[in-house]
Amino acid sequence: MTTTPPIVSLRDVHKYYGTYHALRGIDLDIGAGEFFSLLGPSGCGKTTLLRTIAGFEDLSSGTLLLSGQDMAGVPANRRPTNMVFQSYAIFPHLSVAENVAFGLRRRSDLNRQAKAALVEDALDMVGLDGFGARAAHALSGGQRQRVALARALILKPKVLLLDEPLSALDKKLREQMQNELRRLQRHVGITFVLVTHDQEEALIMSDRIAVMFEGEIAQLADPQTLYRRPTSRQVADFIGVMNFLPASLTAGSTAASVEIAGLGRAAITPEQCPAGMPTGDCTIGIRPETMSILFDGEPAPARETSGQVHELAYYGDMTYYDIALDGVEKPVTLSMKNLVGRRVLERGETARISWDERALIAFAK
């Protein structure tokens, strides 16, 4: 992915607050023009990492390079990065145009007209043309976010840092802004680094995602790999929904196989299994959409098992079933599209279930 030299480069970065170890050895390269996301639960250090890149936090140890230059001792106002704050931080005493023009104040090479033209362009780019004279406090949440974007992008930073920029918006507006942000990023070609706790948002927008837990990067991959091949149970659990079944791994002469509670024996390829995993007790993960219910004597495309409908949740487009399998304590979840003519099972009904061993992922216990 990163064939061009990295724009952001972190090497063994640690950050302590007193005795609290907030960042625990971060190694990370972010390429030019990438849309990169830092994803994790609150308190995982993602915001600290972003603020470290911005220059609001010092490193306790390690190095940070921005386009090859060491940023040690370079304050935030001298770094080629700009930030969109979670609260947007729109200056309440300035108009929209004055907010957007704020960072141009020190540009002596530009006269008033040139600055005004740049502000025009920036507002135009975020869809706020004609809003320049508005008072900042008269803006809606979505408009504030656009002003914050225009204000940062007008300075043409090498990296734009976005701290949970969509968390304050309602669902509809958030989905719309996700698309717009993605489009805007392609349009300007600037590297975006986004902090979010919303896994769906990260999957939709990013080229690559770093999943963080407790100050460490647990996995760094593109969205599809992250979803399909999570390298740890923790990551798998955080991204989307996954069922975990107790299992036992046996290494054969040619291929490995697992004995899974409720599903039976299945073959497993090295791809589905972390390298060097010991044989014996393990956990098998399987996503809800890779299993399905078989109706009316329909033949199973791959493997088949059966169970009882324990609970169900009807979502309109989908139905989520919790199915109790024999020999498994916790029911497994599977999802079905509510296609035309397909009925919704009731609680207590016995269901035939189809599953595919290619969808299995093994994790250490």
């Binding site: 607050y17 609290y20 308190g43 600290t48 220059g55 609001f56 010092d58 304050p75 935030a76």
Partner: protein, 291 residues
């Protein structure tokens, strides 16, 4: 997790900023308080000060009935003022918080605070005019025919001091109670009603307990300056209404006995501290018992 500052040397920046006000308070408050404490252990020898440490002043202050009487009276008057002020202020704070529309509240608070910002001396003097033998109150009451003789128990005694101080410190009592009432989530009152309590019981079981911190703050804010008040006892108190501050002033400026004045000041401070601590302790216990 703490996220603050621009990253570098927040502690140094904080210390640099706090240094001027802290040094000022150190030089003009800490040093004088230490000095007055030291003075209270010295003694006046005609025009010079005898620096040998002695408890003579304290013995005198505690044995001489005049001082004991003044101290006791100061505490009693301040207590009466505090009780009167807080009891009178609570309904006002309650009214503004619960019965005045939200957009009119700051107007009411503004109206309540205005009299407080007008010259204290002149206000106290005007109470003398109101309460006097031929004063506004007496001439009005006689004019209306309620009384035949002017009331004499309302000027030049402790009553006059209580009335005047209750007036002077009214906003100090109203504001903290108002703030604590404003903080009460109105849905708590609805919940209480929903659970079957009537207005009165809701007030007693929900509103009043939640207003306790405000009442405690009001009590302290009124009591502390009141016990050291000088102007009011002097102007409307008469000989029977004088308080400790008047004696401190007399010792310093009239009798030229700074050590004795310092001793009385230290005793006054000690009383204020003890009473304040008792109150804070009771408040803690109250809050703890509820959590």
């Amino acid at each position: 997790m703490k996220l603050k500052g621009f990253g570098t040397s927040d502690t140094a920046r904080g210390l640099t900023l706090i240094a001027p006000p802290a040094l000022f308070a150190l030089l003009l408050l800490a040093v004088p308080l230490v000095a007055i404490f030291a003075f209270s252990f010295w003694s006046q020898d005609f025009l010079t000060i005898d620096y040998t440490p002695t408890l003579k002043n304290y013995r005198e202050a505690l044995s001489e009935p005049l001082y004991g009487q003044l101290i006791l009276r100061s505490v009693l008057i301040a207590g009466a003022v505090t009780l009167t002020t807080v009891v009178l202020a609570f309904p006002i704070a309650y009214f503004v918080s619960f019965h005045v529309p939200a957009n009119r509240k700051s107007l009411w608070i503004f109206m309540i605070t205005i009299p407080f910002w007008t010259s204290y001396l002149i206000r106290v003097f005007l109470w003398k005019v109101i309460l006097g033998y031929n004063g506004v109150l007496n001439s009005t009451l006689i004019g209306v025919g309620i009384i035949d003789e002017p009331l004499t128990f309302i000027l030049y005694n402790a009553n006059a001091v209580v009335i005047t101080l209750a007036h002077a410190f009214a906003p100090f009592a109203i504001l903290p109670i108002f703030v604590s009432l404003e903080k009460i989530d109105r849905s708590l009152l609805e919940a209480s009603r929903d659970l079957g309590e009537n207005h009165v019981m809701t007030f007693l079981r929900v509103t009043l307990p939640l207003a306790v911190p405000g009442v405690v703050a009001a009590t302290l804010i009124v009591f502390i300056p009141t016990i050291g008040d000088y102007v009011t006892p002097r102007l409307v108190g008469g000989p029977g209404g004088l308080m400790i501050a008047n004696m401190i002033q007399t010792q310093f400026l009239k009798l030229n006995n700074a050590p004795m004045g310092a001793t009385l000041a230290v005793i006054a401070m000690a009383i204020v501290t003890v009473i304040a601590l008792v109150f804070i302790f009771l408040n803690r216990r109250w809050l703890k018992a509820r959590s």
